[in-house]
């Protein structure tokens, strides 16, 4: 009797929760198809006069293709460089014994607790006065190129690469970099994919640092563009904003639905420390 009663309650709860989680997405999509006046009339869930005018305005007046491209190439470059350097570092910590290894590893782990905001102000000054990188993509690619989380993550993954395989290659006279490139990387593909998704998504959705760095309209990434659509108080162009929000969420949604197993595996193995 108890079991027959528990299950419907549990199903009701989980379905209700899922609907709550999905509701903002559906509202975003439906609002993006509504004319401005209808968004604030707020009478119906579905648009009464569906229109693509918001998307048209987004792409024609706000140059959204360029901003999508900016977001994409910055995220792609940052991901490629970071994943490569993290794999290299992770491999060294997983498979080599060298003096100072424990100390360097602890130092690296401790650096993970450093919030970005602590270095934001001096880093901004450096980017402007020393590197002259304001309004360029470099500050979004280089400073985070080899990060502690990624190295730790790849180390956990590469601990399971069999030593015999590496030693056999050494006996055959392969150089250390060649071993990394031809043996270690190919056997770590699932881990590389997990880390790539995590890096790509965090770069794509990043807001604070791009907001500080990217000033001119043509350099904006998608989140910075959305912020600039805000306008003065009370004049926010919510119609175009919702179209822009859909455009910014959609690519991540597609990546997530295809590769979610790898992303979830990445989050879990990053948290369960070895």
């Amino acid at each position: 009797m108890r079991i027959t009663l528990d299950k419907p309650i549990a199903y009701t709860a989980i379905i209700a929760l899922s609907l709550v989680m999905l509701f903002p997405f559906t509202w975003m999509l439906s609002s993006s198809l509504k004319p401005f006046s209808e968004i604030f009339a707020g009478n119906s869930f579905l648009p009464e006069q569906p229109t693509l005018a918001n998307y048209q305005s987004l792409f024609e007046q706000n140059n959204a293709v360029l901003k999508l491209w900016n977001s994409f190439y910055i995220a792609a470059a940052a991901t490629a460089i970071s994943v490569f350097l993290c794999a290299l570092g992770g491999y060294a910590f997983a498979k080599f014994r060298f003096p100072g290894r424990g100390l360097l590893f602890s130092l690296m782990l401790a650096s993970m607790a450093l919030p970005f905001a602590v270095v934001m102000v001096p880093l901004f000054v450096m980017m402007r006065n020393v590197f002259h990188w304001i309004d360029t993509p470099w500050p979004l690619i280089i400073p985070g190129a080899a990060n502690a989380f990624g190295i730790f993550f790849m180390r956990q993954y590469m601990l399971s690469v069999p030593d015999e395989m590496l030693d056999a290659a050494r006996v055959d006279g392969a150089s250390e970099f060649r071993i990394f490139w031809r043996i270690v990387l190919p056997t770590s593909v699932p881990g590389l994919i997990s880390l790539s998704i995590i890096f790509f998504m965090s770069s794509w959705n990043n807001f604070l640092w791009p907001l500080a760095i990217l000033h001119s309209d043509s350099m904006q990434t998608v989140p910075v563009m959305l912020n600039s659509l805000q306008g003065p108080p009370g004049r926010t162009a919510f119609d175009v904003l919702m179209a822009g929000s859909v455009v910014s969420v959609l690519p991540m949604l597609v990546i997530f639905l295809i590769l979610q197993r790898r992303l979830v595996a990445g989050i879990t193995s990053g948290a369960i420390k070895g």
């Binding site: 509202w27 001096p122 807001f207 919702m242 979830v264």
Partner: protein, 309 residues
């Protein structure tokens, strides 16, 4: 040892010991060097530079005005900065306990395979986490709008009068908490699911055979064994709450009357609106010290109450 010294003094043509060691381990050292070089240039150096900056008055351009510890003295009396710290603390208590509790419960239910389609539910709960917080923040602003928002429309059908979600000090904080729970519940659930997979299911089964109800088994077995993961998740949430920027910047613009301004929000405004770089650097330092203190305190507190000891 003696031979090594003679080598160091250059009596033989072999390189000194430390250089030989370096050469012997050149590959791993080379492989980890990108991290440590970037860490030195973009973390260690800025932290030092930041201290020097915090001793100056500087609008970001032109000559820097040395003022000693004046910025820190002013910061001690700066009620806006300290209320941003308090806001973060309040926000933490508004959403983190509830979110963590829900994450443990949902993970326990999903893990028990009590429900079918486990993967589907996990996906649906997780999906907000991949969303741009700028996009989500604007959408929440529409949904939570006092006059035309979907939520108040729905409440009106239930004859509940309009709630000032974004226009009242406490409701705005709750709204921010709702956005955070929406965005991070799935992430925390996935963490807890990972933790649960390290617990042998026989333990819970054995307790049930001994007559424990599902709820007793949950509190007496699942929760204590999940303690390390809960500690990890709460620590992440603390740092996340104090580092929150995009959510209040988009959803509430820090308002009403600064009730949802967070420390990072303050640092950002001090830097890019007030153009007080030295003062912002001092704020960053105090902010960092407080985060470190809270994290250490929390580890200490939770490890002390460990029921196993």
């Amino acid at each position: 040892m003696i031979r090594d010294i003679s080598q160091d003094l250059g009596f033989t043509r072999t390189r000194p010991r430390w250089r030989r060691e370096l050469w012997r381990h050149r590959w791993p050292l080379l492989f980890i060097s990108p991290f440590f070089v970037l860490f030195a240039v973009f973390n260690v150096y800025p932290i030092g530079f930041s201290f020097w900056l915090s001793l100056h008055d500087w609008p970001g351009l032109g000559p820097m005005d040395f003022v000693g510890l004046t910025n820190y003295a002013e910061l001690g009396r700066d009620s806006i900065f300290w209320s941003s710290m308090l806001n973060a603390l309040i926000l933490f208590f508004i959403y983190v306990p509830l979110m963590t509790f829900l994450a443990v419960v949902i993970a326990a239910v999903l893990n028990s395979r009590f429900l079918k389609l486990q993967g589907l539910w996990r996906t649906l709960i997780f999906v907000p986490n991949i969303t741009s917080m700028v996009a989500a923040g604007y959408t929440f602003r529409l949904i939570l709008d006092k006059d035309s928002g979907a939520l108040n429309h729905a409440l009106a059908i239930l004859h509940v009068s309009a709630v000032p979600w974004l226009d009242d000090v406490w409701w705005a904080r709750i709204s921010l908490g709702l956005l955070m729970i929406w965005a991070w519940l799935g992430y925390n659930t996935v963490l807890m699911l990972g933790g649960l997979q390290t617990i042998p299911p026989e333990l819970v089964e054995a307790a049930k055979v001994d007559g424990a109800t599902a709820i007793q088994a949950f509190w007496r077995i699942t929760v204590p064994l999940l303690r390390p993961m809960i500690l990890f998740a709460v620590t992440i949430s603390i740092i996340g709450t104090f580092s929150m920027f995009t959510e209040p910047y988009i959803l509430t613009r820090g308002g009403p009357i600064r009730a949802t301004e967070t420390p990072v929000f303050q640092i950002f405004n001090t830097t890019f609106q007030d153009l007080r770089f030295g003062y912002a650097a001092a704020e960053s330092y105090v902010y960092f010290a407080i985060i470190v203190a809270i994290t250490l305190f929390q580890f200490w507190g939770l490890s002390r109450r460990d029921p196993v000891n």
